[in-house]
Each structure stands twice: as structure tokens, then as C-alpha cells.
């Protein structure tokens, strides 16, 4: 038996003449946290919805938990948990009533239901508020309740579409602890996000841009993949002036302010390391430090993903 929880081959999804997903192929292993990173409108949500059998693919093959999503959509839905982008539990039901509803919809064995609801309430830190209407709960609680509803039936695969958008940093951190806890128990987790720090929490990342999969790998692999040059860190006086000088210097492809230093992309590191301090000095700017550095995920993202129109 294959270890792949999800297999996607040549997936295409068109809405009219618009191609939302363009020949995407990848697979995900059991217990892996796979992140979808990409600008808004890149097609992240569309891919997740197809994997959850909510949208039909135009062409290509998608197997989730060993099942074809177009042939056995209901069987796929029984084996996955899904949290949609917008919070979509019932505001006029209490937390417990929502959990009970989804327990029923996923046909959680009646004998286990109470214990699992208790577990979900504790996991979400909802103890004491479980009988309040969901509409009155704050974002972080809602998010964890939605996760509880999505995993009540212990699905082997979990899809989370921008689960932490609009949630405070502390709640985000708690949420990610829960995700890793689940992955550790063998659950395959798909997460879409546009937070760079969250991307670092993923085992592997899929970079999506304009419907295409532009890169796939661990955060480390993505950072060390050739960007067509070397990234230099330059620390010097008067960053603004220095940026203007370097942008004019031959052999510099890109330069940008990054915190209290400059990130400079050059095709030839050796020459640049030798010549750039001199170029700055010619304008009366003393270079305090210059060295080649590993790019951050954000550097990779900006380089690989064209800004969406």
C-alpha cells in the first residue's frame, strides 16, 4: 500500500475561460504538514476545495485517502476534515450544539460522541463557554471550535484553508501547536496561508502562483534552491543613499532595504564582495559589513512568485 495520503496528477480547473488551476501535480505523505503558500487569488483555495470534493476538477486525477474524488465524493468527505476560509459554523447554535451537529453529520459512534465532544471542548480551550452561542465567541475560540468540529470523526486527512486569518498571534501559536500535535499522531494536514512565519512551521511547502505550482519542497530546500544568484547582506551608513548607489552599480540585480541592512542580489558573488565596498566608498559611504547569506523564505517567495495583478 502506498504511503501517499493524497495524489494529484495534472489537475486543471477552469471557470469559464479563466484557468484557476493549471496542470498541478504533487502528493502528500501520511503525517505530513503541507503548506500552500501564494498570493490571494493564486488558486490555493480552489485546489483545497477540489481535494475536498467540493468542486469538480476540469481534468486530471485526484486521489484522497486512496479514493478518486470525482467517483467517490461522499466516501472522500467521510475521511477528511475541512475548515473553510471563512468561519462557517452556526452562530445561533452553542459550541456544544455545533459539535453535536457535526458529530451527527460525520456519524461519530454514539457511544464515543460525548467523550469526543469533551475532548474538542478541552482542545479548543472552550471549557466554561461551551454553552454560549458561537456568535458571541472571539476569533481564536471560534477557530479552535471549527477545528474541533472538523476533526471530531478523527479523519486521517485535514484541510485547513487560511485557518488563522484574523486571529491574534497568541491564538495562532496555539492553533499551530494543535496542528503539529495532530500531525504527530499520523494525520496529514494541508494548510494554506500567507503568513511567512507559518510557512516555516510546515514540513513541506507548495508555492502556488497564478494557478501553477512553482515550487515544492521543505522550507530549507526552498531557501537553498538556486535563485539565479547570491544574496548579500550589506551593512553600512545612510541606507537610503547606499541603496541608490548600489542600484546603479553594474553587477547588482536587485537591492532592497531589509531591517537595518540591505539585501543585494548579485550573479557573481566573488566580484561583488570585492568591488561593492569600493563603490560605496567612492560616494563617501563606509561599508561596515558585507557577506553572502542564505535567503529567507520571504526572499524566495518574492523572487519566485510574481505579484498578482
Amino acid at each position: 500500500m502506498s504511503d501517499a495520503a493524497v495524489v494529484v496528477e495534472d489537475l486543471v480547473k477552469r471557470f469559464g475561460t479563466f484557468t484557476a488551476v493549471d496542470r498541478v501535480s504533487f502528493d502528500a505523505r501520511r503525517g505530513e504538514v503541507l503548506g500552500f503558500l501564494g498570493p490571494n487569488g493564486a488558486g490555493k483555495s480552489t485546489i483545497i476545495r477540489i481535494l475536498c470534493a467540493l468542486l469538480r476538477p476540469t481534468s486530471g486525477r485526484v486521489r484522497v485517502a486512496g479514493l478518486d474524488v470525482t467517483r467517490a465524493p461522499e466516501a472522500v468527505r467521510a475521511r477528511i476534515g475541512y475548515m473553510s476560509q471563512r468561519f462557517s459554523l452556526y452562530d445561533d447554535l452553542t459550541a456544544i450544539e455545533n459539535l453535536r451537529l457535526f458529530g451527527g453529520l460525520y456519524a461519530v459512534p454514539a457511544g464515543d460522541l460525548d467523550a469526543r465532544i469533551r475532548w474538542a471542548v478541552e482542545m479548543g480551550g472552550l471549557s466554561g463557554r461551551e454553552h454560549e452561542l458561537v456568535g458571541t465567541l472571539a476569533g481564536g475560540w471560534k477557530q479552535r471550535l471549527a477545528l474541533g468540529c472538523a476533526v471530531l470523526h478523527r479523519p486521517p486527512i485535514l484541510f485547513l484553508d487560511e485557518p488563522t486569518s484574523g486571529v491574534d498571534p497568541l491564538s495562532r501559536r496555539q492553533f499551530w501547536d494543535l496542528i503539529h500535535h495532530m500531525a504527530a499522531s499520523g494525520v496529514t494536514v494541508f494548510v494554506s496561508t500567507h503568513y511567512m512565519d507559518e510557512a516555516e512551521y510546515c514540513n513541506r511547502l507548495a508555492l502556488i502562483d497564478r494557478g501553477r505550482l512553482v515550487a515544492l519542497g521543505t522550507p530549507g530546500e526552498l531557501r537553498s534552491a538556486p535563485l539565479g544568484g547570491t544574496l548579500l547582506l550589506v551593512e553600512c551608513e545612510r541606507l537610503g543613499e547606499a541603496l541608490a548607489v548600489l542600484a546603479q552599480t553594474p553587477g547588482v540585480r536587485e537591492a532592497a532595504v531589509f531591517g537595518d541592512a540591505l539585501h543585494v542580489m548579485v550573479p557573481d558573488a566573488e566580484t561583488a564582495l570585492r568591488e561593492l565596498p569600493g563603490a560605496l566608498a567612492a560616494h563617501g559611504l563606509r561599508c561596515e559589513r558585507i557577506e553572502a547569506i542564505a535567503p529567507t523564505l520571504e526572499d524566495v517567495f518574492v523572487h519566485r512568485v510574481g505579484t498578482a495583478p
Binding site: 476545495r49 475536498c52 461522499e74 466516501a75 468527505r77 467521510a78 462557517s88 451527527g104 456519524a107
Partner: protein, 379 residues
């Protein structure tokens, strides 16, 4: 079909109704309101019609005639006026539905054994009331006329028989013995309320999920389209039955409408009718994904034909042939036929085979369409 999932949906739907004041109002208050409004307001009977009289004779005989009008339950002699202009002014202003003019030679000519005419002016803006008023007025005057003739014959020493017409009619009004239009309207109100409540509430079910953004999460679960439909409609089916019981109970207990059939017959017909109206509301809800639009269409589609073409307001036999043909499509027509028969005739299931069969067919068609209407996809 999974029982667990269907029950889960039904339970959630019931919570929505319980916590939504608007739905509660529609489910509980609307039926009673309709019953009171229509039970009292939509009466077709003409009683206590205002009469103004211009008695130019002023004799004992003419007073006796006017007393007859006063004694009739159909008329109230509001005032005797002293001039023709006052009389027409009263009719113009709508204060009088009927204006009577008694000629100055009224008593003299009757005493001589001659004939005399009484003028009756009827406000015929509402032709139904005018027809009734004319009929009642003729009956009152006819009765008085016969008594005058009888008295005259006796004075002449002739036998009473000479005054009596050779043939008389003995009418028996069946089913609605007292000719109370309320007895005919109340069963209609039941059909109207059920159509309104059933279609209105069910038209919100799917639209609400889209509007609140909960649909995506719902369809991501393994619940099937049919389980969603049945789970969502069962609570409204029960509410519909409760409303029907409320309306029928109110009609019998408050308005004194006779109920001669069996509860079983009523239940079978009502259940079928509910399947039809709930199914129609559900299909509308699938087609129009916002609550306001869906509920407006639901009201339009159910209320209008139920009012106009079911035989509730206008008798179907009196409609022109093309309109009558259209009325066959109106599901409420069959339910109304059954309701009236159950209330007033006491008919059982066997006697109502035709309309019941039509309703079974209707329920089957609507049920099938509703099952196919909703698909679990976001495409």
C-alpha cells in the same frame, strides 16, 4: 440514507426556528392572525345593511312596512328622512346601502284594493352585496304584500286559499344549513395559512445557509443532498401539522364551524398538502440563494393561486373555461375541496378519491423535483 445525519440536520433546523424571532412569528403567530383576520373580515354575508327610508305617506300601513325591515336580521332601519335629497345624499355618502321611498298614496291605494310600487335604491358598487340586498328587500316586501292581500281577502269574506299561491317551494340547505359564509371560508383559511407558513419557512432553509456562509462547511461533510432536504423539511412538516391543528381548532372552537368528518381524513390530506408546499418552498430556496428573494417568491407562488384559483375566493364552476383549466394546476384546489368536504359534508377518504389522488400525484412530482433540485457542490 443515514438516520443519524438526518436527525442531526433536523435538530439543528429546529434550533434555528426556536432562536429566530422572525421564524417563530411566522410559525406561531401568523396562523392565528390570519384566522382572526379572515374569519372575521372575509365574510360574504350581508347582514344589518343600513336602510334609509323616505316615507311620504306616513300612515300606519307604511310604518308597518318599515317595521318589517327593522325586524329583518338583514336590515337596520337607520333613519327616516324628510326629503328625497337627504335619501340620495345618504346613499352617495355610503351611509345607506338601501334607500326606500314610499309613495304618498301608499295606504290609500292598498285600502282600495289596488296595487302600489315601493322604490328601492341600492348601492351596487359591491355587486355581491347589492344582489343580496335586493333579494332580501324583495322578500321583505313580498311577505308584507301577501299579508296585505290576505287581510283584504278576509275583509271581502273570501277564503284564505284565494291568496295562497298554488305551488310553494320548501328549501333544505344542505351541508351549510345556516348559509354561514364563515363555514365556507374557515376551511379555506386553513389551506391559505398552511400554504403561506409552509412555503415561507421552507424557502428560507437553503437560502439561509448560503447567506450565512455555512453551506460550504455543511457540504464538506458526508451528509447527502437527500438527507439535507428531509432533515430540513421534517421540522417544518411538524410545525405545519401543529399550525393546521391550531387553525382547525380555532375554527371549530371559536367560530363554531361544524366539523363532520374524521381527523384521520384531515390528517392524510394535510400531510400530502404539506409535502407539496414544503417541496415548492425548498425548490425556491435552492433556486434563489438569498432569504429575502426566496421568501418573496414563495409568497407570490403560493398565496396568489391559493387565493384566486383554488375556489377560496371565487367559485371554480363560475370561471371561464381557460381559467378553470389553469385551476387544475393549483394544488390548493384539491386540498380545499377535501377540506370543505371533511368539515361540512363529513366525507371520508373513499368519497374523496379524486382529489386525494391528485394530491398524491402532486406530492410525488414535487417531492421528486425537490430531491433533484439540490446538489452538494460549489461549482
Amino acid at each position: 440514507m443515514s438516520w443519524r445525519r438526518t436527525v442531526a440536520i433536523a435538530r439543528k433546523e429546529l434550533i434555528h426556528v426556536r432562536r429566530d424571532p422572525r421564524s417563530l412569528l411566522i410559525a406561531l403567530l401568523l396562523p392565528i392572525m390570519q384566522m382572526i383576520l379572515l374569519g372575521y373580515g372575509a365574510t360574504l354575508d350581508a347582514k344589518h345593511l343600513a336602510v334609509y327610508a323616505f316615507d311620504r305617506d306616513g300612515s300606519q300601513t307604511s310604518q308597518a312596512l318599515l317595521k318589517r325591515f327593522q325586524a329583518s336580521p338583514y336590515f337596520d332601519l337607520v333613519r327616516t328622512v324628510e326629503g328625497y335629497a337627504d335619501l340620495t345624499a345618504a346613499v352617495d355618502a355610503g351611509r345607506a346601502k338601501l334607500g326606500l321611498v314610499v309613495s304618498p298614496d301608499f295606504s290609500r291605494r292598498l285600502a282600495e284594493g289596488g296595487t302600489v310600487t315601493v322604490q328601492a335604491i341600492v348601492d351596487a358598487t359591491d355587486d355581491n352585496t347589492a344582489n343580496l340586498a335586493m333579494g332580501y328587500a324583495e322578500a321583505v316586501i313580498g311577505g308584507f304584500s301577501q299579508d296585505v292581500q290576505l287581510a283584504w281577502l278576509r275583509r271581502q269574506g273570501l277564503p284564505d286559499r284565494a291568496a295562497a299561491p298554488p305551488i310553494s317551494v320548501e328549501t333544505r340547505t344542505w351541508y351549510n344549513e345556516d348559509l354561514e359564509s364563515r363555514n365556507f371560508i374557515v376551511p379555506g383559511v386553513v389551506a391559505l395559512v398552511m400554504a403561506l407558513v409552509g412555503a415561507l419557512l421552507s424557502s428560507l432553509t437553503i437560502a439561509r445557509e448560503w447567506e450565512r456562509g455555512t453551506m460550504e462547511q455543511l457540504v464538506s461533510t458526508p451528509v447527502t443532498a437527500r438527507e439535507i432536504m428531509i432533515g430540513k423539511l421534517v421540522p417544518y412538516f411538524v410545525i405545519g401539522l401543529v399550525d393546521a391543528a391550531l387553525c382547525v381548532g380555532f375554527g371549530i372552537g371559536w367560530f363554531g364551524v361544524p366539523f363532520r368528518g374524521t381527523v384521520g381524513t384531515l390528517l392524510v390530506a394535510t400531510a400530502l398538502y404539506l409535502v407539496v408546499v414544503l417541496g415548492i418552498g425548498f425548490v425556491i430556496s435552492v433556486a434563489i440563494p438569498n432569504q429575502l428573494g426566496a421568501s418573496s417568491i414563495a409568497i407570490l407562488v403560493t398565496l396568489l393561486p391559493t387565493n384566486m384559483l383554488s375556489g377560496f375566493a371565487f367559485p371554480i364552476d363560475q370561471m371561464p373555461a381557460p381559467i378553470r383549466a389553469v385551476s387544475y394546476v393549483v394544488w390548493a384546489r384539491y386540498y380545499l375541496t377535501i377540506l370543505k368536504a371533511v368539515f361540512l359534508k363529513g366525507s371520508g377518504l373513499a368519497a374523496l378519491g379524486g382529489p386525494l389522488l391528485a394530491m398524491v400525484a402532486y406530492a410525488a412530482v414535487v417531492g421528486t423535483v425537490a430531491t433533484r433540485a439540490f446538489r452538494k457542490t460549489l461549482d
